[in-house]
């Protein structure tokens, strides 16, 4: 796409969208928001980029394989936290086992799993978008 207005506005707005998604990710404990919303907003920034600049240029800095690894990393963070809690002697996802003084364990566990959710959601939405946008073209090497 060669619309100058669109490109300028996108360049201007993209950092704000990304910053907003990080804000929601980090500030989720005391305000509305959390990992899921942050992931979706991040993915929509990614979609905006690939709509305006073309998905090929988006592929250069975020290749398909990287997205796959991010998705796995997210789910591993979540499941790994659960299993780590079990190794430390509690139940699955019992964050009290991480640190035993009052709420630190809970806070730590929650922030880790929120990052896991955020990563998986961002990566999966972007993957899905790639899958739909590349279908029908000459190359579909998404698997």
């Amino acid at each position: 796409m060669k619309n100058k207005v669109l490109i300028t506005v996108t360049r201007f707005i993209l950092p704000f969208i990304i910053a907003f998604s990080f804000y929601i990710q980090i500030n989720g404990s005391n305000a509305p928001g959390g990992g899921f919303q942050a992931g979706v907003i991040m993915a929509s920034a990614f979609m905006l980029y690939s709509i305006v600049f073309g998905y090929r240029s988006a592929l250069t800095f975020m290749p398909f394989k990287a997205l796959k690894i991010l998705a796995i990393l997210g789910i591993m963070l979540y499941g790994g936290t659960g299993i780590a809690c079990m190794i430390m002697g509690g139940e699955f996802l019992n964050y009290n086992m991480i640190r035993n003084n009052l709420t630190t364990g809970q806070m730590l566990g929650i922030s880790v799993i929120e990052w896991g959710v955020g990563l998986t959601v961002f990566a999966t939405f972007s993957l899905g978008y790639y899958a739909f946008i590349t279908r029908g073209g000459n190359e579909h090497n998404i698997d």
Binding site: A31, P32, F36, G128, F132
Partner: protein, 124 residues
């Protein structure tokens, strides 16, 4: 009479949206429209859950301070909100998988109209 009806009107409207979604899902001939109707159905259910959580003059479910006893306030029920976050995710996951299937159907049959597809299926 009037007050009671008003008190139940939000629920009834949610149910109306659910029924519209069901009607669209079962009667649309186009598969894409079926999917969008399906997400209307799910939105109706989500609206219903959020409506039952509402408390008159309640604050949004964020505590003013960590110890509830020091600053008690009337809060909206947060549990349905949590459930519906999950339900939204499930809805969008279903929509995405359905869309992928529709694209494959279009590639294989060249159409996504139900009537034509049933004929094509019987001819196979």
């Amino acid at each position: 009479m009037n007050t009671t009806l008003i008190e139940y009107l939000p629920y009834i409207l949610c149910i109306a949206i659910i029924c519209t979604g069901l009607y669209g899902t079962t009667n649309s001939s186009n598969y894409l429209k079926k999917l969008v109707s399906l997400s209307i159905l799910q939105s109706g259910v989500i609206l219903f859950f959020i409506a039952i959580a509402k408390v008159k003059d309640g604050q949004i479910p964020i505590l003013a301070c960590l110890d509830f006893k020091q600053c008690p306030e009337q809060l909206i029920n947060p549990l349905p909100h949590v459930l519906m976050l999950t339900a939204i995710v499930v809805g969008v996951a279903t929509l995405a998988v359905g869309l992928a299937l529709i694209i494959r159907i279009k590639e294989e049959y060249g159409t996504i109209e139900e009537n034509t597809l049933i004929e094509a299926e019987q001819n196979d």
